[in-house]
């Protein structure tokens, strides 16, 4: 799925933030945009919304150049969570290299989470991807709220699957970068095996992650 142009030394990666409506996908991207340094990324592009709900998608682009000269464009998309926008979700999911599933931790949202996860599974299949092999991390968002699924319950269900999962509050700004980093790690491992990022372009995982997740410190030159 990775777009890779050997002659141009250019690679385009696509990550998708998936999940039920109002689980905080856009908030995750807004938060990344806020927390990460401007260097190495473009601006968050929020396409037109309706009542503050995503109807198309949001896009947070990154751009880094490896020591060996490989130009990597990383595009992080959100999908609209509302059930009726399934066609848009399918379109955005096409050729994804990794997926972060943003679940809503509230107990009342359990059904929506699992329906959305099933939807992810079937849409992946439709666009020719496989839930079992695609790079996937899960974030349990909204941990700042009451009436959320308790941690032990989450662990009981998700630990056996081997899928990395994180707790976050995108609103308060914690757990967001961790989720993103984990997704980047898995994505790196996946493409390094195939394209030899370290061997051919001198780009090891640490550098890759660091370049894409420079935390912005106020006062530091941007």
């Amino acid at each position: 799925m990775i777009e890779y142009d050997e002659i141009e030394s250019r690679m385009v990666l696509k990550l998708v933030y998936y999940g039920p409506a109002l689980s905080g996908k856009t908030t995750n991207l807004l938060n990344l945009h806020e927390q990460l340094e401007k260097k190495g990324r473009g601006d968050l592009m929020v396409l037109d919304t309706r009542d503050d709900r995503t109807i198309f998608f949001d896009l947070l682009p990154f751009y880094i150049v490896s020591p060996g000269g490989l130009k990597i464009k990383l595009k992080v998309f959100t999908v609209p969570g509302q059930v009726k926008h399934d066609a848009t979700r399918k379109a955005v999911l096409q050729r994804a290299d990794g997926v972060a599933f943003i679940a809503d931790s509230q107990v009342v949202e359990a059904t929506n989470n699992s329906q959305s996860f099933e939807n992810l599974e079937s849409n992946l299949a439709i666009v020719g991807l496989d839930i079992d092999t695609i790079t996937l991390v899960i974030q349990f968002n909204k941990r700042d709220l009451d009436n959320i699924i308790p941690g032990p319950e989450v662990e009981r269900i998700w630990k056996p699957t081997g899928i990395p999962f994180f707790y976050a509050s995108a609103l308060e700004g914690w757990g967001v970068v961790e989720t993103f980093k984990s997704l980047l790690e898995l994505t790196y491992s996946h493409i390094d095996r195939r394209y030899g990022l370290d061997e051919r372009y001198g780009l090891d995982m640490e550098t890759f992650i660091r370049k894409l997740t420079n935390i912005y410190e106020p006062g530091q030159a941007g």
Binding site: E3, V12, K14, G40, R41, G42, D43, M45, L47, D48, F56, F57, L59, P61, F62, Y63, K71, K73, K75, F77, A87, T88, K90, A91, V92, Q94, R95, G128
Partner: protein, 436 residues
């Protein structure tokens, strides 16, 4: 928008494909901005792409202009080209401000163009996808519609097949029921025939012993007759022999035995004749039938079934002939009479009346049995309907009657009140045309 063929060979649209500066912003977009910058004091204004190619340029020859400003342009964080401004010497700070303004304007324009392009892309993609899905849905619907149509057609055929099978099964059952009442009849008849046959056989054994005695006596006479005289001794012997053989008794009994045997044989002959008449074994087809005679015939063959306490009253009227298969009629009468016999064993009174009414022969069988409850009276002709205990009847007796009468274009009706008996009224069309 990038289009790449997928496995199925149709087009797949990819969202957010890579774009160059030229894709996003055109000379036409840029020119008014560059003119404004020139108007504000710049001599030469250029916008170039990532590889240095000029996208748009405004202003005169650059030879005497020395002061220059540059601003890089980015797309999604990636260097995509830049702005170059040249102005007269000493206007640096002014050019700086113009460059900032121009940069902001171009970046804003790029952003809104990109947004519009992405929106258009996703919109088109979703539209195309939805259209393809609709086509697919439509195709599937068409297929399922076809399947349903075939199913509906098959269903009709299947129903016809099943109906035919059911009709055949019912016909077989009716046939079985006919055989069942005949079987009951046969059992009674066998008993009737066995009785006279029993004493005829026993008489014949006795007669054989008598014959042995006659032969012995006759041989004694014959030897004496050859010598032409009896000795005194022989005369005494003759007397003893005659007495020993009990010939006085034998001679008096022999005619009784023969007479009884002839009677027995005659009874069997009559029973067989009745049965033959009842079964109409010789009349395989339609013939002119005397209904009164057929009822009599039927009563005769089941005479042994009728208990002594039963009273059968016949109110016959003169009837015209009717054309039908007499065996069928006898079967109807047999079933109705057997029904009446089952309805009451002791003290049964069965009144059978016949008369001619408006082209029909009306036969009424009225019994004084236990009658038929109102709740079931409308159902008694239905196949498998029975009020008898499980195992004592399959509920086809009256169905057989109904079936036969329908085939004769007649009608059957029943009236009953519980405890007061049942009255079956049978109408058979009189006259008609016989084949022969």
């Amino acid at each position: 928008m990038e289009k790449s063929p997928n496995d199925k060979g149709d087009l797949r649209y990819i969202i957010g494909s890579e774009k160059s500066l030229r894709d996003i912003i055109s000379e036409r977009d840029l020119m008014p901005l560059l003119k404004m910058a020139a108007g504000a004091g710049a001599c030469v204004v250029k916008v170039s792409d990532a590889s240095g190619g000029i996208i748009c340029e405004y202003g005169g020859p650059a030879d005497k202009r020395e002061a220059g400003m540059q601003r890089p342009l980015y797309i999604e964080g990636e260097p995509a080209g830049g702005i170059v401004l040249l102005g007269e010497e000493g206007t640096d700070s002014r050019l700086e401000k113009i460059a900032d303004l121009l940069y902001d304007s171009i970046t804003f324009l790029m952003d809104s163009n990109l947004k519009r392009m992405l929106t258009t892309e996703i919109h088109t993609t979703v539209l195309n996808q939805s259209y393809e899905e609709l086509l697919e849905t439509n195709r599937k619907l068409e297929i399922s519609r076809k399947e349903y149509r075939e199913l509906a057609e098959n269903l009709e055929r299947k129903v016809q097949e099943r109906t035919f099978e059911l009709k055949q099964a019912l016909a077989r059952l009716l046939q079985q029921e006919k055989m069942a009442s005949i079987g009951q009849l046969a059992a009674g008849v066998a008993h009737e025939v066995n009785n006279p046959l029993g004493f005829v056989y026993s008489n014949l054994s006795t007669l054989k012993r008598y014959a042995d005695k006659f032969i012995e006596m006759l041989e004694f006479y014959r030897s004496a007759f050859k010598r032409q005289e009896f000795t005194r001794e022989e005369i005494r012997t003759e007397q003893r022999k005659w007495e020993a053989l009990k010939l006085d008794y034998v001679l008096s009994d022999v005619y009784d035995l023969i007479g009884q045997s002839l009677d027995g044989a005659e009874r069997v002959r009559r029973i067989v004749a009745d049965l033959k008449g009842f079964s109409h074994i010789d009349d395989v087809t339609v013939t002119v039938v005397d209904i009164n005679a057929e009822i009599d015939r039927t009563l005769k063959v089941i005479a042994h079934e009728i208990p002594d306490t039963a009273e059968i009253q016949r109110n016959y009227n003169q009837l015209p002939g009717c054309c039908c298969n007499p065996a069928l009629l006898c079967q109807v009468f047999l079933n109705i009479i057997l029904n009446a016999l089952q309805a009451r064993r002791e003290g049964l009174k069965l009144v059978i009346s016949t008369k001619y009414v408006n082209g029909f022969i009306e036969i009424i069988f009225a019994d004084n049995g236990h009658g038929i409850p109102d709740t079931v009276i409308n159902r008694i002709f239905e196949p498998f309907f029975t009020t008898k205990e499980v195992g004592s009847g399959i509920g086809m007796g009256l169905t057989v009657i109904h079936d036969i009468i329908s085939s004769l274009k007649g009608a059957i009706d029943v009236e009953s009140s519980p405890g007061k008996g049942a009255t079956f009224k049978v109408l058979i069309p009189s006259g008609g045309e016989c084949n022969e």
